[in-house]
Symmetry: D2
Subunit: 165 residues, 4 copies
């Protein structure tokens, strides 16, 4: 998962003395635009070509509060892409990536200047290729992480059984 750093700002807090929940949605955007840039898709360049990419849906689960002064890392993964719509998954974590503060996702489409939905698969072949490559890479990484977690968990169980003997 690609990670993006964000320093929590005073103006992002509310009177509960935590970051206002709407700001995580903004952080997802920061991290997503950075992710795309690193993958070869400039958002500025995309809009110059007359294409915008509205948010179709967004969701967030807040697990632990983030406070002013924290530096967080937003991990982004391409979760799905069907030639038309794009889905990203996010995790907001602490600096050392140990704690997960928030998990979320967002889906996006592509619209031309006439306001018509366009399919990258057919009409933006350069983006389509990049999306396909990112999806493959991110999902393979996800699979590897899952396997590693299962292996660690199995090893731990084995150790526990050994100790009990």
């Amino acid at each position: 998962m690609d990670t993006y750093r964000h320093r929590v700002q005073y103006y992002e807090t509310d009177q509960m003395k935590i970051v206002h929940h709407s700001n995580y949605i903004r952080w997802f955007e920061e991290a997503r635009i950075d992710y795309l840039e690193k993958s070869g898709i400039s958002y500025v360049g995309m809009e110059k070509r007359g294409i915008v990419s509205p948010v179709v849906s967004v969701e967030a689960k807040y697990l632990k509060m983030v406070r002013f002064g924290d530096e967080v890392r937003i991990c982004v993964r391409m979760e799905a892409y069907n030639g038309v719509k794009l889905e990203f998954a996010y995790e907001v974590r602490d600096e050392r990536l140990e704690t997960v503060y928030c998990r979320g996702s967002s889906t996006h489409c592509f619209v031309n200047q006439a306001g018509t939905l366009i399919a990258p698969k057919r009409e933006l072949s350069d983006y389509h290729e990049i999306f396909m490559k990112c999806l493959k890479r991110d999902q393979e990484e996800k699979e590897r992480e899952k396997e590693a977690a299962q292996r660690r968990s199995a090893e731990k169980s084995a150790r526990n059984r050994e100790e009990k003997k």
Copy 2:
């Protein structure tokens, strides 16, 4: 469904010339606080009692873009309440309630000054009663609306069959 009016502000737009998607999450909050106030729960009063109500999760589906100058109505309904957590459903609609721009939901818990989760059912009996009453009323209304929609749909089918004869 209770409805709350919001005039779309210039500072809520982004360079896509639509309202930035994070602002709908803020509108949900505006409407939710207004809903609770009308139901007899003042947010200011709640915090004076040393209780805060963090957002546990939020989601939004963006169906149609809202623009600067629009006046929207945010419809709020209590969707679930289990004595501990509260869930609200939202619809952002146009002034005449004809078009749905956005559908969303949010869940909330209650925390005391020590940072401990508290259950309104046991520790905030006045809120608990209000929540129970609101939930009953809103869900009954939802049921009635569903039945009315089914009736309208059945009548329409009947009319169509009549006309075809």
Copy 3:
């Protein structure tokens, strides 16, 4: 002075438990757009004509803190207009207009689609006329208020002298 109502939102607070100072600048905008609308200039209509009105400068003096749950009134007055630039003065007050929370001002220019500065005096005669009328009315009102304040102050001094005798 024209007054515009704004209910202070939870998301407008920061962890100092007051409204974040940047939001007053947004309220000025809300109130200014409302003022222009009431005067016959729709901001949506202006942008449809290909004209935007960027902010050239802004300032605010924070006298008293505003908190969540407060309902404020933002009073707007056209303070200057020289055919090219427009200046507004603002006061954020409490509901009954008794306390002044914040005083501010902002200046604005007009730019066409080519990005060129345009003078309403020469190129937007309908706006020019409205601006001139608003300026006259607002400045006359300001003068009257000043005189009334001086009269009240003089009367008070007179009363004080009477009482001392």
Copy 4:
């Protein structure tokens, strides 16, 4: 002048396709907090001591528009300090510090938990010392920059006169 980097975010733009003017006020805050941190004053630490530092006034002059995708540098200088109030000056510049997009300033006071104004000079001697040191350094730097600019300007005039001969 100390400089702080900020990457312009999509959510900071408005439908004029530039950064909304209220966000510069937020950038001033980002840069100011960073400046204080580098000078030895942690804002988090200050609030833990029961002290908050509200904004007393703010102003900004917008000279050139900043757009999404730009990386700006916010230059901060301590402009005045009288033992009670603190004033900062800001310049928002491009990455190479060549263009000035915006100039601004802000003043701040210090308030304890009882809500009473406190003078760092008498009650926060560690902060007072830091403020005095920063002010001296920043104002000396300002003086040097002014002299350098005058020298460059004088040299340029001299060269022009030479060339005219």
